[in-house]
């Protein structure tokens, strides 16, 4: 009888124990969640602070070095150098091909972006005007010379002494120029 009573008492303890364990686990879980939330909030704040500092560092770095602007300027400069035509070189080449300005003198020169050159010149003699064509033909940087008109510029006792002419030729900067004189032609 006593043994049965003892067993019944033991059986009655189990639900209490389970309930106690459940309560303790729940309280523990609640406490853990609270602690975890606190830790995570702190981590979150630290990360936000770190990001703010990184953003500030980035701005300082960009401002101090003007990195973006410099990179863009350098890139543009490279393209611009290819884009630009160095007219001083063109003019030097023209002067090199027509060095004797006493015999052929240019009164007007115009060069367009496609390297087509138009000149208005004065030649001492009509043969000098013809020599203009030979000079262009013998030049490595110029070709396709064409005189559209020749007319007397002034007259002397024995007829015209100067001739004005208009001509065009193509300039090709990618080849070497031969130094030519009117005598060589």
């Amino acid at each position: 009888m006593n043994q049965n009573q003892h067993q019944t008492t033991d059986n009655k303890k189990w639900p209490n124990l389970i309930a106690a364990a459940f309560v303790l686990i729940s309280v523990g879980a609640a406490a853990f969640l609270g602690w975890q939330s606190f830790q995570l909030t702190q981590s979150e704040q630290e990360l936000k602070l770190a990001i703010d500092n990184q953003k500030a560092s980035l701005i300082v770095l960009k401002e101090r070095e003007k990195i973006g602007e410099k990179m863009k300027a350098a890139e543009l400069l490279n393209k611009a150098k290819t884009y630009r035509k160095d007219w001083s070189v063109v003019l030097k080449d023209i002067n090199q091909v027509f060095p004797k300005r006493g015999e052929i003198k240019f009164n007007g020169v115009s060069v367009d972006a496609s390297n087509s050159v138009s000149v208005q010149g004065t030649a001492a003699d009509i043969s000098n005007a013809a020599q203009f064509l030979s000079l262009v033909k013998n030049s490595d940087k110029m070709k396709n010379a064409f005189i559209s008109d020749i007319r007397p510029a002034s007259s002397g006792d024995n007829g015209p002494i100067n001739y004005n002419f208009s001509a065009t030729f193509d300039y090709d900067p990618n080849t070497q120029t031969k130094a030519l004189t009117t005598d060589e032609s």
Binding site: F22, S37, E65, L76, S88, F106, V111
Partner: protein, 172 residues
């Protein structure tokens, strides 16, 4: 004794309803936020590293003066001063200046176009063109045309100069 545990179990209902379940959701949300923030901070670390490397790269002399050659804005005042210096140093006189803003389709950048007339000795004209090409501000001409007049035995050039210069924006 039995009742205490029943009360304790009953008290757990609000504990779960008002603390454990919402707190669990909040913790999960915080963990996701932290993951996003960690990714963000890693991104920034990479960007800072890249910029630091670029900064070292920009110590290359190639980048010296690039912002003077192609500035971020038009810097019109500087262009006027440079042109005045170039014309004076090469013996030319400039008579009028006009400016316009534009866009270069090939280079996809802003331009400032300058038109001005110059007058000077023909034999100094190459020097003038070289000075334009070597200018601290990048400048060029799309084309050129000049006429020559002989005055007192000296060949004098009259020319309208169609100049362009680049900038990274159209602002002045």
């Amino acid at each position: 004794m039995k009742k205490i545990w029943i009360y304790a179990l009953l008290l757990l209902i609000p504990l779960y309803g008002f603390w454990i379940v919402p707190q669990n959701k909040a913790v999960k949300a915080q963990q996701e936020d932290i993951a996003v923030l960690q990714a963000e901070t890693e991104d920034y670390k990479v960007k800072i590293k890249q910029l630091s490397d670029l900064s070292k790269l920009l110590e290359n002399p190639v980048y010296d003066g690039v912002l003077e050659r192609i500035p971020t804005t038009l810097e019109q005042g500087m262009v006027i001063l440079i042109l005045q210096r170039i014309t004076e140093s090469t013996g030319f006189v400039f008579e009028s200046l006009s400016f316009s803003r534009g866009q270069n389709a090939t280079l996809e950048t802003s331009t400032m176009n300058v038109n001005f007339s110059i007058r000077g000795r023909e034999d100094k004209f190459v020097n003038f063109l070289e000075a334009i090409e070597k200018s601290p501000r990048f400048m060029g001409m799309e084309s050129f045309a000049y006429s020559v007049q002989t005055v007192n035995g000296i060949d004098i050039i009259n020319m309208s100069v169609p100049l362009y210069t680049f900038a990274q924006s159209n602002e002045n």
